[in-house]
């Protein structure tokens, strides 16, 4: 083969390899790292809330199984959330003492969900039902526009507004946090706790 032709082929190959693919290789994309996503309701003043209550276990949800978990790790997660709330001035009370906020926690495994639009009700089996907080349902007034699904290993923390329940018994979620990939083996309890701290830190209305 003539050197000139060889050169042209080599250059063509280099061009194809280096530039024709728009997306970089999957291995470069950091798919396995934890992600902490939070969103708060900007339409309401958070300083009206003084007290909160938190669930006594973590709801566990998967396509084949659901239930509640209260092992040492789950308790550590709940304690971390409680600690973040109390350190910001919120007072922990029992759920029968009319708390301003109720905190739900759930671990979701291997579920892909195409959600979220206003008015959607939380409907997972095993999740804390509306009557847990004494109301008629959970109401989702907002959600990110660009996150359309989640999958394996998501810890959800939700702050339910128990102070402004609608006349028909619906309750708004005023803040939520998704911490992804927590159910994989590669993430430690410490990383989960740090992620919970980060979820509170990055929420401007909770800034100390």
């Amino acid at each position: 083969m003539k050197p000139k032709i060889l050169l042209i082929l080599l250059m063509t190959w280099l061009f194809l390899v280096t530039s024709c693919s728009k997306y970089p290789p999957t291995s470069d994309r950091l798919l396995e790292d934890l992600v902490i996503y939070t969103k708060y309701d900007t339409s309401i003043k958070f300083n009206q809330f003084k007290t909160f209550s938190i669930v006594d276990s973590i709801a566990y949800i998967s396509p084949t199984d659901s239930g509640k978990v209260l092992d040492a790790d789950a308790q550590a997660v709940l304690n971390q959330i409680t600690q973040n709330m109390t350190s910001r001035g919120y007072v922990l009370v029992n759920k029968n003492q009319n708390p301003d906020l109720g905190i739900n926690v759930a671990a979701v495994k291997n579920i892909n969900v195409q959600v979220y639009y206003p008015g959607w009700y939380w409907g997972y089996p095993g999740y804390f039902p509306p009557w847990y907080w004494g109301g008629g349902g959970y109401y989702y007034p907002y959600y990110p526009t660009y996150i359309t699904s989640y999958s394996t290993g998501t810890l959800l923390i939700e702050m339910v507004d128990l102070k402004n329940v609608t006349p028909d018994g619906k309750m708004y979620i005023r803040w939520n946090a998704y911490i992804r990939a927590l159910l994989t083996n590669s993430h430690t309890l410490n990383q989960i706790k740090e992620s919970i701290d980060q979820a509170f830190r990055q929420t401007k209305v909770f800034s100390k």
Binding site: S19, D28, V35, Q198, K204
Partner: protein, 215 residues
């Protein structure tokens, strides 16, 4: 970087002038050129805050037609990608949302430009040139977080002054090499909510390739 640019420019000019001192060589003046180049990109300014890595992922195809003397007019079409992974960062949205994640950022660019260039000594083995590209780019700016791909796309206007040299493989060869360096200014920008407010993305490009020389 400045040093590299200066050495590059001086070496190109030196090559041209050194040859200019020789007796006129027997050769031919081309009627047109077609260039196929490997394009390496170095981001500047606000673009550099988005992705600071230089990137060899790029390809450029161009054609130039001799108008008069050494003056040519033609076109350039390219594909370029710059990319980089970053550790944990927190990004804030405009509606109470925030995300903390490791992230991978890349920009994919497809420039289309008309080019005017002046070739010094187009009939010689080494022909330095200066040129100006005027046109537009299609750019996609992607922020990848896990499987989420948050992106925006934009068209822009761009200007690209360029300096370079064509080197024929032989006096009568229809093939040659190309080395060129350009500065590119665009009206493109990167804007994900309030993160990376940028304007007028700029970059330097180093092109190395082959040239088909048509008599």
């Amino acid at each position: 970087m400045k040093k590299i640019i200066v050495i590059f420019i001086v070496s190109i000019l030196f090559a041209g002038f050194a040859q200019g001192q020789d007796k006129p060589s027997v050769g031919f003046t081309p009627s047109s050129y077609y260039t196929f180049s490997w394009n390496t990109t170095f981001t500047l300014g606000d673009f550099n805050k988005w992705v600071s890595n230089g990137s060899p992922a790029g390809f450029d195809f161009g054609g130039r037609y001799l108008i008069k003397g050494g003056l040519t007019a033609g076109f350039n079409i390219s594909w370029q990608r710059v990319s980089q992974s970053y550790g944990y960062e927190t990004f804030y949205g405009t509606a109470g949302d925030a995300i903390t994640a490791t992230n991978y950022r890349f920009t994919w660019m497809v420039p289309f430009q008309g080019v005017i260039a002046y070739h010094f000594m187009p009939d010689k083995l080494v022909s330095p040139y200066i040129g100006l590209g005027i046109g537009g780019d299609y750019m996609e700016h992607h922020l990848l977080v896990q499987e989420y791909d948050i992106y925006n796309t934009r068209w822009d206007f761009s200007l690209t002054p360029e300096i370079g040299a064509l080197v024929k493989f032989g006096k009568f060869s229809n093939w040659g090499g190309l080395i060129a360096f350009n500065y590119k200014w665009t009206t493109n920008k990167i804007d994900f909510d309030n993160n990376w407010n940028s304007k007028d993305l700029m970059m330097l490009n180093l092109k190395v390739g082959i040239v088909l020389i048509v008599r």
